[in-house]
Each structure stands twice: as structure tokens, then as C-alpha cells.
């Protein structure tokens, strides 16, 4: 199974297509990119995600050759391209504004790059035809850009940038100007084209859903640095900082002080069946404790050794992010998802895996148990990042490792799901999401209701408070 997964970043033998080595870009006193080191591999669909002004476009423009790095190197296939002018790079860019040549037809726009290479006429013609077919624009070949619609223009821009078969295609917020439906269609089209052509794509977006949809890896940026690079699921489930957790999707942040939990039973024995196993609703429940080695495809032992001994010491902190893995699946999530508003058949307290942390978050409230927390955070100020969909909401107190009592302040009905804004004791606002499996009239939780929120001991991610 591990072979079929596309994850060159875990393979120490893989040669990166793009290497940023300590790249810094300054505009006057302003540092737009700050000592950035990152590898991007062939055939990747790499998404740069971050708030406006964090340096995404600057990064792209350095790859395209419109800006030169102030410090550091950018290597393409091992060759430093820092000072190669844009017209001499095997890199093409699809511009945010599309930048179609308004006085040229769709055909001539696509042919523009090929003609600059002085290729024979029939070869150019064949290639343009191929691109027109790929982007379904055959009918519009003779039209001018102002004679076609926004979605078609966007496809012309894509066809034009793909025509020269670049090693690397840069897409700067390519779908920003499209409406939501067309956007989603185009995202799948992009993924399809990327797969067909085998080109490496780097896409800039400030839309986290878009990044999660299309990308093989997502890099979250903040003020000229990459904060975390990982596959979309890891970014979502195991953010490495409050910034990332907060930036990607909805999240509840509960601040408190960590306290290490006693590890009565050493974790090794937990993987074995419990002394008195319950008839479990899901068979994997007992194995749900820390068994992270099975959770994600791993490089072989040689690879891991190479990584630990050689690469980590050299590339330091940026590589440390990469082995982050998803937290192990937890059984109690399954029944709760199916019937979120009923009291789930809750696990008994002894099901809570030992170890991890307890978080004192409010005077006079029971500490929150986070069995997946890093005991090294003992005594530190921490933040528990908890996704709204990982919280159960019920009117009676469920049997769960963590329960919080609160009052419903607001309900956002989104059709398929509802988000409940609950003020818990201590005044913290917490959002809980539940699927609307029943018709609206039959749901029993409403404004001002006293409710219980519940979540498992591994539902949240414990992060150091910044």
C-alpha cells in the first residue's frame, strides 16, 4: 500500500524539482520572504495558503523570474535559477488577472509561447490544437478574449501557460474571479489536467477549501515564512500551531495550563486487549490508543535512518514538521457522528488511554483530558484546538471523557449541518457542529437551551500557546 501512495517528500532518495535554500526577499526595509527553505517534488500539486500580504505572490514571482531573491538560492532540478531571466526559464505562470493578450485570438494567445521558440508551423499548430482540446476551447479558437466568458478566459490562460509543457506551472489565485460553482468545477478540471500532463503545479490561494481540495501538500504561510507543510488531512487534523489550526477551517481554542497525566499503564500494553474487554460497537476501539505507527504510510527503516541521521541535522526545523501524523482514530467518534443528538453509548472512564495531558482551563471546572497531548508540555500554557465537528451536543449529560456544560447562544443553520454556538461555564464560546440528519422541526435543541458538549480524550490537538 505504501508504494501506491504519492509521497515523494517522505522518500529521502527523491530528488526535488524545486529547492528553496534560505531564500530571503526584501523590498527596501520590508522583508516579504524570510529565510525560507522548502523542497517541492516532481508531479506535486503544491498549494501556498496564507492571508493576504504574507508573500505568496512574491514567492511565485521569484520562481517565474520577475523578482530576484535578496539572499539564498532557488534551484530548479539542482540548477540555481536565481538570476535567469523569466524568458529563459522552463517555468510558466498563469496570472491572477489571466493577462490574455487582448489583440490576439484565443488561438494566437496559446500559440504565442510556441512561436517564440521558432518551432516549425505544423508542430505549433498540432500543439495548439491539443491544448484547445484539453481545455475544451476548440469552438472558440478564433475569438478574441473579450468575446468569451470569464470561465473560458480562465481556460485560455491555463492552455497558454501549459502549451510549452513547462516543468513547473505556477498558478496565482487562478480561480479568484470565478463564482463558486464554476470554481469547484474548475478545481477538478485542474486536478485532472495536472494528472494528465504530469506537470508540477504550485497554486496560490487564500481559500483554504480550494487548497485542501486540489493539493497534494499544503504550505501555510505567515509573514514570509512557511509555518507548516503537510498533506491536507494532516494540516487539518494535526496542525502544528495555533496559527495553522485557526487559519484552516473552524476551530475552538480553549486556553489553559497543561499537567502531565500519570502513565499507570505503559502505552505498549494498551495496544493489547483490555483486561475485561467490553462488547465494543466498533472492533477497532481497543486498538484506538496510541498506535501511531499504523496510522500513516511510513518510509522503510533505511529511509527513516537516512532521514534522521542525515537530512534532519542539515535541514533542521523544516523537516521536523514532515513526520507529523494524523492522530489515531478514536472509536467513540463513529457512533456520535451517526446520531449526534442522542446520548451516544459512551465509553467507560477506563477506556480513556493513559498518559498525555490534563488541561486546567477554568477555576472550578474539571480538567480537560487530552490523552494525545505531549507530556513534555507539562506546566506550560497551552491551547486545545478542537474542531466543531468533533464535539457532540446533547441535552443530557453523556458518558464521555470530556463534557462541558453550556447554554446555546446561537444556531447557524447551514442546510446539511448546523453550527451551535454554546457559551460554556467560564464564559468561553464554543462551536459544535452536528449533521442535520433529521428534519428541522424535529430537532430538540434550540436557543437558550442548557446543553452538554462532549468529546473524546483524543479529539483535540494540544498546542503550545503563542
Amino acid at each position: 500500500m505504501a508504494e501506491s501512495v504519492f509521497a515523494p517528500w517522505n522518500d529521502p532518495e527523491a530528488k526535488p524539482l524545486i529547492q528553496f535554500k534560505g531564500v530571503t526577499k526584501r523590498f527596501g526595509d520590508f522583508t516579504a520572504i524570510d529565510d525560507l527553505t522548502q523542497n517541492i517534488y516532481e508531479r506535486e500539486f503544491f498549494a501556498l495558503l496564507g492571508p493576504s500580504g504574507c508573500g505568496k505572490t512574491t514567492l511565485m514571482r521569484m520562481l517565474a523570474g520577475f523578482e530576484e531573491p535578496t539572499e539564498g538560492q532557488i534551484l530548479l532540478n539542482g540548477v540555481d535559477i536565481g538570476h535567469v531571466p523569466p524568458n529563459k526559464r522552463a517555468v510558466n505562470m498563469m496570472f491572477q488577472s489571466y493577462a490574455l493578450f487582448p489583440h490576439l485570438s484565443v488561438y494566437d494567445n496559446i500559440a504565442f509561447g510556441l512561436r517564440r521558440e521558432k518551432k516549425p508551423k505544423d508542430e505549433i499548430h498540432a500543439r495548439v490544437k491539443e491544448m484547445l482540446r484539453l481545455t475544451r476551447l476548440d469552438r472558440f479558437a478564433q475569438r478574441k478574449p473579450h468575446q468569451i466568458s470569464g470561465g473560458q478566459r480562465q481556460r485560455v490562460a491555463l492552455a497558454r501557460s501549459l502549451a510549452k509543457a513547462p516543468k513547473l506551472l505556477l498558478l496565482d489565485e487562478p480561480l479568484g474571479a470565478l463564482d463558486k460553482k464554476l470554481r469547484e468545477e474548475t478545481q477538478f478540471e485542474l486536478m485532472d489536467i495536472q494528472e494528465k500532463t504530469g506537470t508540477t503545479f504550485i497554486i496560490v490561494t487564500h481559500d483554504q477549501e480550494e487548497a485542501m481540495t486540489v493539493a497534494s501538500r499544503v504550505a501555510v504561510m505567515d509573514e514570509g515564512r512557511i509555518v507548516q507543510v503537510a498533506t491536507p488531512d494532516v494540516i487539518y487534523e494535526a496542525p502544528n500551531s495555533v496559527y495553522v489550526a485557526d487559519f484552516i477551517g473552524d476551530v475552538n481554542l480553549i486556553r489553559g495550563t497543561a499537567r502531565a497525566r500519570p502513565t499507570d499503564t505503559p502505552p505498549e500494553t494498551v495496544a493489547k486487549p483490555e483486561p475485561e474487554p467490553k462488547p465494543a460497537p466498533a472492533p477497532r476501539e481497543t486498538a484506538s490508543a496510541p498506535a501511531p505507527e499504523r496510522a500513516a504510510p511510513q518510509p522503510n527503516t533505511l529511509g527513516r535512518a537516512l532521514h534522521d541521521k542525515l537530512l534532519s541535522p542539515i535541514f533542521g526545523k523544516w523537516l521536523e514538521d514532515e513526520p507529523r501524523r494524523l492522530p489515531p482514530p478514536t472509536a467513540p467518534e463513529a457512533p456520535r457522528a451517526a446520531a449526534p443528538e442522542t446520548t451516544a453509548p459512551s465509553p467507560q472512564p477506563q477506556d480513556i488511554p493513559p498518559g498525555g495531558l490534563e488541561i486546567d482551563w477554568s477555576e472550578g471546572q474539571a480538567a480537560i483530558i487530552a490523552a494525545n497531548g505531549d507530556p513534555a508540555l507539562d506546566g506550560e500554557k497551552v491551547v486545545l484546538a478542537l474542531r466543531p465537528e468533533k464535539l457532540g451536543i446533547a441535552k443530557t449529560r453523556p458518558q464521555a471523557p470530556n463534557t462541558l456544560k453550556g447554554k446555546v447562544i446561537d444556531i447557524a443553520y447551514l442546510g446539511n449541518i448546523s453550527t451551535y454556538h454554546v457559551e460554556i461555564e467560564g464564559g468561553v464560546m464554543v462551536k459544535a457542529q452536528a449533521a442535520n440528519t433529521r428534519r428541522i422541526a424535529r430537532r430538540d435543541i434550540t436557543w437558550e437551551d442548557e446543553v452538554w458538549l462532549s468529546f473524546t480524550a483524543t479529539a483535540g490537538v494540544v498546542l503550545k500557546d503563542e
Partner: protein
């Protein structure tokens, strides 16, 4: 519809009368039978016939056209280059000074421009004639071209040039294949502006002209000093008609193009 108002009607009439009455008089009297410009003696086109016989006027017209053509062409090339550099060069020390200096001739009194050019030509020993008038006209009309072109360039999407470079075009190719065709209308307007400025310039041409290089404005001016002749009225009427036809055609053409373009854009949205 706004209601009719005597105030509006009066201001409109007065304004147009102010603008066009002198010209209408001139046109009417160009068809006067009599040589006296202030006495109407019946309709005739004879002054047009005489005008076409008048070698001096025809020569002057030919010189004027030559001067206007060459000076506006050179001014367009230089003015476009100046505008391009000013817009594209980004920031460098003394940029404001430079761009200010490009536009200074716009407000410089013509007498001073003419005088300084005259001194220059004398200083470097250049014989005055068609060449010096061309140079002088280039000098002062270049800044007009540069104003027109740079206002177009300032709204030009620089991403288009970057896209051309990105697709492998050299900077020169990206200018000639992409930028120039797109800003062509502004360049042509700049050329036309320079051409008309040169056509009707009297002051600078008087300073810098020499034997055998009498332009039409100079000719008309000196002829009028001996008395206004109906021939000059006829000549002026011809010039007015040429300009009128030119302006009307140009605006019709550009309006039709705009309408056509809007229709195509709407069609594109519908088929989307």
C-alpha cells in the same frame, strides 16, 4: 427628460455663438463675389479657383505638410519612448525631476521655446530651413505625445508584458508584439495631436524658419498683414472642412467599434 428652461437655452446659444460665429462669418465670406471682406456682393466660388492657382500658397501648404509629417513622426517615436521609460523605470533618484522636465515645454511660452531654439541653431551653425522647423516642432510636440501615451500606459496591465516574457519573448518582442499594438490608439492620437500642433504653429516656426521654408501659417499671417483677402477665407474654409470631416469620421468609427465590442462581450456572457 429635463424640462425646457430659458436660462439653459440662452447659455447654450451664447456659448455656441461665441465659439462658432467667427468661423461661420469666415466661411460665408469665402463665397463672397466681392474682394472686400465686409461687403456681401453675391455668391461665388471664384476665390477657391484662385487659391488653387496661387503657387505661393500651394508651396507653403506642401512645406507645412512635410514639416508636420516628419516632426510628428519623430516626436511620436521619442515621446512614446520617453513615456514608456517614465512609466516602467520604476523609482530612481531624480524621477520626479525627469518627468517634470518632460512636461515643462507644455507650459513654456512659445516665444521662449522659439527663441532658445533659434539661438541653438545659430550657435551650432545650422542653416535655417525645413530641417530646423522640423527639429523645432519635434521638440515642442514630443511632450504632448508623451503625455497622451503615458496616460494610456499608466492603465496598461503590466502583467501582459510579464506574461509575454514568461512565455519566452525577449523584452523587445514583448514591447513590439504586445505593448505597442495595445497602446497603438494612444500612439496614433499622439501622432495626430503632434501633426495638428505642427500644422498651425506660427510662433516657433517664425523663429526657426529660413528661406524656402515658409509654412502656411506664416504665409497666411504675412498675407493678412497686407489686407485680408477672400483667398485666405477660402483656404481657411478648406482647412475647417478637412478638420471637421476628420473629427466626425474618427468619432463615428470609434463609436461603432465600442458598440460592436459591447455587443460581443454581452454575447460572450450569454454563451457562458
Amino acid at each position: 427628460m429635463r424640462r425646457f428652461s430659458w436660462f439653459n437655452a440662452t447659455s447654450l446659444t451664447l456659448g455656441f455663438a461665441f465659439l462658432y460665429l467667427p468661423m461661420i462669418l469666415l466661411v460665408v465670406y469665402s463665397f463672397n463675389e466681392s474682394r472686400l471682406v465686409t461687403v456681401w456682393a453675391g455668391f461665388s466660388t471664384k476665390w477657391y479657383g484662385e487659391l488653387l492657382q496661387n503657387e505661393e500658397f500651394l508651396d507653403a501648404a506642401w512645406v507645412t505638410l512635410k514639416v508636420a509629417f516628419f516632426s510628428s513622426t519623430i516626436a511620436t517615436v521619442l515621446g512614446t519612448m520617453a513615456a514608456y521609460v517614465m512609466i516602467r523605470a520604476g523609482r530612481f533618484p531624480g524621477r520626479t525631476l525627469f518627468s517634470g522636465m518632460i512636461y515643462a515645454p507644455l507650459v513654456m511660452p512659445e516665444v521662449i521655446t522659439g527663441l532658445s531654439l533659434l539661438l541653438l541653431f545659430i550657435g551650432i551653425g545650422l542653416d535655417r530651413g525645413v530641417l530646423t522647423v522640423v527639429l523645432a516642432h519635434t521638440t515642442f510636440s514630443m511632450c504632448y505625445v508623451s503625455v497622451v501615451v503615458s496616460s494610456r500606459l499608466s492603465t496598461f496591465d503590466q502583467a501582459l508584458e510579464e506574461a509575454a516574457l514568461d512565455l519566452g519573448a525577449s523584452p523587445f518582442e514583448s514591447f513590439t508584439l504586445i505593448t505597442l499594438p495595445i497602446i497603438a490608439p494612444a500612439v496614433i492620437s499622439g501622432w495626430l495631436l503632434a501633426f495638428t500642433l505642427s500644422l498651425d504653429d506660427l510662433v516657433i516656426a517664425s523663429f526657426t524658419t529660413g528661406p524656402g521654408a515658409t509654412t502656411l501659417p506664416i504665409k497666411v499671417f504675412s498675407a493678412v498683414r497686407l489686407g485680408v483677402s477672400p483667398e485666405i477665407n477660402a483656404l481657411s474654409t478648406l482647412l475647417i472642412s478637412i478638420v471637421t470631416v476628420g473629427v466626425i469620421t474618427a468619432s463615428l468609427v470609434s463609436k461603432r467599434a465600442a458598440v460592436q465590442r459591447r455587443r460581443e462581450e454581452q454575447a460572450a456572457q450569454r454563451t457562458a
